[in-house]
Amino acid sequence: MNPDDKNLRWIEPPELGFWGKTYLPLLLEGMTTTLRHLFSRKITVQSPEERHEIPEPLRYRGVHRLNRDEQGRVKCVACFLCATACPAHCIDIVAAESPWPDREKYPQTFDIDELRCIYCGMCEEACPVDAIELTSLYDLSGKSREEMVYDKPELLSVYDRTKDSDRRPVGGVSDGDRCESPAQSPSETPFTRESPSETPFTRESPSETPPTGGR
């Protein structure tokens, strides 16, 4: 960059002036700012007791789920597009011949290593049948690395727990048009932020208490 450049616009710092040189207005300004914040409302969410409110649950990328179709079967057709798209290589699928007539293959096993996953949502983008989706559940935890590798039943149970939430799934089935209900009825598992579950989202309790936070 040439300092002679005609297009260059030089900005001179403002002169301090008398009061600026005494520093008093600046000292006062700093003090009033800190004092204002000292008494202002605190924004901390007291995490285990209060739940963090996700402003855009539809856009949030949390724990994966495997969607079911109208008959409660897994929607996945084991095409491996998600595993191919995955930049972290965290999806492991073993395909088998489908027992159902409407598709050729289905996933015999479907493992996602939630620790390797970077929650980029590429699998969701890649899926041709909207079978895999990211939910707005954010506080997954486990006691070992093995525990954090979620298998097919686990991922399906995530679907069961989030299907009736406000987060209207794109590929999932909402209450009205579902034929077979593998989990409890929706009235028993309300997703309210006001009643935080006692157990956060862990593997030990897949279907007892619904985790809140999803909308």
């Binding site: 300092p3 001179e12 710092p13 600026g20 003090m31 800190t34 000292l38 409302r41 924004i43 901390t44």
Partner: protein, 413 residues
């Protein structure tokens, strides 16, 4: 002279003081974290309560957890350090920081009830007989520089050395304005004893900050710098020196440094309150004489500690209000601003003591009032002159004149 009663009395006072100071240092860490959190719109530590229970107590158990954590941490000694000095440095700064409190009164006197006749009333200060109190504070406080310098040197690490160097320069530079700020008070009181300084302010009812505001400003800024608090925390400067002189320290040795830092802050707050804010005196609450009842004695302790807490609170607020100085700005402030201001204050106070009271009596005005008017006039005049004369910090941003050849800026360079 030192009979057994005096020794027992001193030992009790030492035990009380050390216990109170260690607890205070631990809880000031919690207070500091709370205030930091509140200012940043957070809540701060509020989980740890009574150990082994689920009682939270707003996080008041946090200092216990912190202390236990520090004690059980590995005291790692890096292989490249000077072993003896590395060990000696934190001990030096800790002992020096603690020893300052020997002459700092934490109250007035206890009532004379229960004493045999002829005995001195118990003064609430560990070493009541020291007539050179202020000089002792300076001498022992000066040793703290050794702790920092030795720590920086012994760590054999460039960040530590920089921290030590900065700290050496800073602490020694600010010792001069600190002394000059006190000198005015000492001149006005005629004694170096801290309890005498309080007694004088209580007797006259005018705190020194009212009559010597310039001295107060000089002392206050210098005390901030001596305590190493923001905006004068260049020896540590976490963001640039990763902790400065205590980068290489861990475990109990690090704890000694950190506690010493808080002790410095407490000592600075005590000195500010005692020298300029009347110590235990408060109008209409504590009285001013030597004779006190038990209620009065306790009230005086509470007033003193309340004032000290207010000063500490201000220290903590200032940390988040004002940005850290650059090193050249720091030195400019010490040598070009604070030192001349301190000298002006000393000259004004000395001239007042020599001629002023006579003059005031001849003019028929109250000496305290005229002294206050003179003090505030000096403050404002000195402030205006300093503002006009001293450049407001060097501006080293690139200017057009400095970069483009042929413009007027180049000639000026």
């Amino acid at each position: 002279m030192a009979d057994s009663r005096q020794i027992i009395e001193a030992l009790i006072k030492i035990a009380l003081l050390i216990g109170a100071l260690m607890t205070a240092a631990a809880y000031l860490v919690l207070l500091e974290r709370w205030i930091a959190a509140w200012i940043q719109d957070r809540r701060g530590p509020n989980r740890v309560g009574v150990p082994l229970t689920k009682i939270r107590l707003f996080g008041l158990g946090q200092p216990i957890a912190d202390g236990v954590k520090f004690l059980f941490k590995e005291g790692l000694t890096p292989g490249h350090v000077d072993k003896l000095l590395y060990f000696l440095a934190p001990v030096t700064i800790f002992v020096a920081a603690l020893a300052v409190f020997a002459v700092i009164p934490f109250g007035s006197v206890l009532p004379e009830t229960g004493l045999e006749s002829g005995q001195e009333p118990i003064r609430l200060v560990v070493a009541p007989g020291i007539d050179v109190g202020m000089i002792y504070v300076f001498a022992v406080g000066g040793i703290a520089v050794y702790g920092v310098l030795l720590g920086g040197w012994a760590s054999n690490n460039k960040y530590s050395l920089f921290g030590g160097l900065r700290s050496g320069a800073q602490l020694i530079s600010y010792e001069l304005p600190l002394g000059l700020g006190i000198l005015g008070v000492v001149l006005a009181t005629g004694s170096l004893r801290l309890d005498a300084i309080i007694a004088e302010q209580a007797q006259s009812g005018t705190w020194n900050v009212l009559v010597q505001p310039l001295g107060f400003v000089v002392f206050f800024v210098a005390a901030f710098a001596e305590a190493g608090r923001l905006p004068f925390d260049l020896p540590e400067a976490e963001q640039e020196l990763v902790g400065g002189y205590h980068t290489e320290y861990s475990g109990v040795k690090l704890m000694m440094y950190l506690v010493a830092e808080f002790l410095h802050m407490i000592a600075a707050a005590f000195l500010i309150v005692i020298l300029f804010f009347g110590g235990w005196h408060f109008w209409g609450v504590t009285g001013s004489g030597e004779q006190v009842t038990w209620v009065g004695a306790i009230l005086r302790v509470i007033v003193l500690l309340g004032k000290v807490m207010a000063a500490i609170f201000f220290f903590m607020l200032a940390r988040w209000s004002w940005p850290r100085f650059r090193f050249d700005q720091l030195m400019t402030l010490a040598w070009k601003v604070m030192l001349p201001l301190g000298l002006v204050n000393v000259v004004v106070v000395a001239a007042w003591i020599e001629y002023g009271e006579e003059l005031a009596a001849r003019l028929g005005v109250s000496p305290a009032m005229s002294m206050a008017v003179l003090g505030w006039f000096t403050l404002i005049a000195a402030g205006v002159i300093v503002t006009a004369v001293v450049p407001a910090g060097y501006d080293n941003r690139p200017r057009r004149g400095a970069l483009v050849p042929g413009t007027e800026g180049e000639k000026a360079e």
